[in-house]
Structure formats: C-alpha cells, structure tokens
Amino acid sequence: MTPELKGFLLVASLKILVAFSLVNVGVIMVIWAERRVSAFLQDRLGPNRVGPLGLLQSLADGVKNFTKEETYPAEADPVVFVLAPVLSFIPAMLAAAVIPFGSPLPGFDMTLPIIGQIVYSGEIPMMIADLPIGFLFILAITSLGVYGIVMAGWSSNNKYAFLGSLRGSAQMVSYEIAMGMGLVALMILVGNVTLTEAIARQQESTWFIFPLFIGFFLFAVSSLAETNRLPFDLPETESELVTGFHTEYSSMKFSMFFMAEYANMITASAMMATLFFGGWDIPFTTWDEGPASYLRFFATFGVFLAKTWMFMLTFIWIRWTLPRFRFDQLMQLGWKFMIPLALGYIMLIATTVWVLDTRGVEFGIVYSLILFAVNLPLTYVLFSILDRGKVLGGSQHKRVKVSA
C-alpha cells in the first residue's frame, strides 16, 4: 500500500467512526433528554436513578430490550416482518454520511512504527463523503425509511399496525414534496446542492434563516412530519392505534424502530443547523474560516453540536406542547397549504434574486438582508392573517369574558 492510500484509509475509517458514534451516542442522549425534558414540562422528575442525572437510563433500557422475549405473530409474513426494522434503521444511520460536522483538519505526513509512512496531503474535509449531490442524498436516503413503516404494518397482519402504516406512507410521501420544494429556494441562493457550498455561501453573507425565513418554516414543519414526531405522529397515535405500525414488535426489533426515529430526528436537526444556521460556522467572526487547524476544528465541532442540540430540544419541546393533528387536517395542511406556499415562495425568491442580480447587487450581507425584508411581509401574512394571530399573540385575546 502506498502512504497516500494508508492515509486515506485511516482518515476515512476515523471519520466513519466519529459520525456513526455521533448518531448512536446522540440517540442515547436524546432519548434521555426527551424523558427528562418531558418530565420537566409536566412538573415531574423523570428518570434520575441510573447513573448521574439518570444519564445511563437509555443504556439500561437497551440491555433490557436485548434480553426480552421476541414475539412473532402467528399470521405474520416471516421475511418481511424481520426485514422491516432493518429497513427503517439502516437509512436513518446512512443519512449522516454527508453532513459536515466541523471545519477541515490539516493534512499530515508522519511515520509510525509497524505501519510505516502515512500521508494525507491537503485539508481533510470533516464529512464522510463530500458527494456532488449533497443534501439530495439525505432526502433520497431518508425517503427509503418509509419502507420500514409500510412493511412493518403490512407484515404484522394486524389492523392497527396496517392503518398506521397506511397513514405513514401517505404522510411521508406528501410531506417529502413540501420539504424538497422548501429547499429549492435554498438551491437558488447556493447555486449548487452540496452542503460544503451551502456553508461557504452562508459565511459569505448571513445565515440562510434570514433570507429564507419561510423556507426554514416549510422545512421545519415538514421534517416534523417526516420524522413522525408530534404533532404529526399519525402512524403511531397511541390513543387510536395502540402504537401504530410497530404494535406487534417486541424486544430489539422494537428498539430498532425507536432508535431509527431518534436518528432521523438527529439528521433533521443537523440538516436544519447546516442549511439554515450556518452549520459549523461561528457567528460574528471570520476566525473559523482561516487555514485548517485542530483548535478551529474543535471549536467549530462544538458549535455544530450546540446548534444541532438546540433543534433537537425544540423537537422535544414541540412534542410535549402541541396536541396531535387529525389525519385529514394533516393532509390538508400538506397539500392545500404547504405545497402551494412552497411553490409561491420559490417564485418570490427567484424573482427577487433575478432583480438583485440584474441590478448588480453583490452577494453578501446586504443581499441577504434585502431578501429578509422581502420575507417579512409574507411571514406577517402567514402568521397573523392566515392563522388569525394565534402564532404571534397566542389565543389569549380570543378568550370570551364570562360575566358573573
């Protein structure tokens, strides 16, 4: 083996290890966080006995699930029944492969005993694979996750599981469209689909949350639906369908569905952080864009984790705050509101970008702020007129005064 190949193999395997453990440790942490935060929101204590602050609770639950009995429904389709949790777990793990989790590291040239010389020339990009198709890869891979739900529901031969999977497939296909269209506006601004370029463009101007405010709103709402979280957890709905598509699953097979849900949540949070909140970019400074160094990597890595966790906590907060949608309401929101809004938004952004480019405005902070100004009236229309002011003012002012 040449020193370059050795260097590549070493770097690649280390990056895979880091990204994979980021997802898996993240899953353990976020399950713990969900239980603690929900307890906090409901004025309870939550799990606090296993390890410090109950941090090891998820590990204990994992061990418990490994030792539980595996049940097979008598009328289930044997092959598909076993395949379903795998098919929902693997895409959830794969999607993290293209997300950059820090600024690049410097290359190295060193000689180790036994292994010999190892060379990696140039900067090491901190993602497993810098694919030219960028976030389209994530959309494609996560869209395969629906097969886990569909196959689980069908093969269980249980009417509740079946209804759950029917809902799941309809819901995920519908919201995929809104999600993709919400990202088209971002593609117009970036000019490409790779995540590295999306981050570079945000460093040139401002974070895309400002120029693409409605785009972020669309993406956030549809990723709630894609990850089957409340208020859109219609495939599970424990009040109607027992536990929906995974009613018949026990032991580790249930755990795989559970872990896939949280892994999808991590991917969605990391996507939101990368595409709309600058990824590993540290705000108000250009220090992190300097030449690659270890200090810069660890600082940016920390910032990326902080942004991702902020969104995960928001996911949890939303879950324990909002009530569930009805299925027809969900479909109406998806098809009659989100998709037309996304289409109109693409046209609005494209027109503004065209006007700005023909006027010769340089891409930068001013460019972003003009786009933000275009977004504001639309945001006002959406949140105060269409929603009758409930998002902005709460439902307080609608309270009817009862006279004594």
């Binding site: 598909v80 030219p132 869209s143």
Partner: protein
C-alpha cells in the same frame, strides 16, 4: 474498481428483476422491483451521473413505489393464494420475446455510437466539478431544450387532470 462494481450492481438488478416477475405475492414483487431500481441507481453513480441516480432513488424508489405498495396494501392483494400469472402459452411467448431481446442487446453492444454521443473519458467528472451535479442537467434542460421540457410538463399536467376527472365524478 468500476467494472467489478458494475457486475455486482448489474447482477443484483437482473436477479431482482427476475424475482420480481416470478413471485406470486404482489408485495414481494414490488419489493424486488425496488431492489432493481436501487441497483440501477448504483450503476448510474458508476457512470458519474449522480443526479440521475439520486432522482432514481428519490422519485422511483422513494415515492412511486411507495404509492404502488400503498395501492397493493389498500386492495389487500398481498396474501391471496390464487394467482393471475399467465399459463403455458404466455410463458412460452415471454420466453421467446425475452430471448429475442437478449440477442438484440448483444447486437446493440457491437454498434459504435455516433461521434456526438461519445464523450472522452472523465468528461462527466470534470463537468460535475465545474457546474455541480444539478447544474449539469439544468443548463441544457432550461436553455437548450426548454420547449420540449415545457411540452412534457403540459403532457403530465393533462394526465393529472385526466386522473382527477376519472377519479372524482362530482367536481
């Protein structure tokens, strides 16, 4: 490295295509078809056509086949013991046609394509680097071939309207 991967993906695609047409359960057939489409996406990546590959997965495997499965499940065709597979005459016809098509493929393999269809090796990779995977498709599609593209979209719109009219009698 490309050639062995091509054989792997090609082999999986052909095998799952065969399984797709020979399974009795419609659900199994649909799952094998998804496998075929996924292997085809792998072959597209080997040809440096990443965008086509991702659209193959996103649209065909991720959306259209979900709808297929949805309909199969909704009609509850999955567990029927009876089969609508064709009898002996149909099997012989398909065997003859299949052999003919394989022979045609062998002949087509010998044909040298016209000059403008042959790109020097590595053209796709350099173009992807320059214009991005999406820009490479979008540039000719929305500049050179805008009229055919729009006509296709009108055709699709007509199909959608037709489907709505057929499905919903009272509008």
């Amino acid at each position: 490295m490309t050639l062995p991967l091509f054989w792997v993906f090609g082999g999986i695609a052909i095998l799952s295509g065969f399984m797709c047409i020979t399974r009795r359960s419609p659900v199994a057939s649909a799952l094998w078809l998804i496998q075929t489409m996924f292997s085809l996406a792998g072959i597209y990546v080997l040809l440096d056509a990443q965008f086509i590959a991702v659209i193959q997965v996103l649209v065909y495997a991720g959306a259209i086949m979900v709808i297929f499965l949805f309909v199969i499940m909704l009609l509850n065709l999955g567990r029927t013991k009876t089969t609508d597979m064709v009898g002996r005459p149909g099997q012989i016809t398909s065997l003859v046609l299949g052999t003919l098509m394989t022979l045609e493929l062998f002949v087509l393999n010998k044909v040298i394509p016209a000059e403008q269809f042959r790109l020097p090796e590595g053209t796709m990779a350099t173009m992807t680097d320059e214009m991005g995977a999406v820009g490479m498709i979008a540039e000719p599609l929305f500049r050179g071939y805008i009229v055919p593209f729009e006509i296709t979209s009108v055709l699709l719109l007509a199909a959608v309207v037709g489907a709505v009219v057929l499905a919903k009698r009272k509008i």
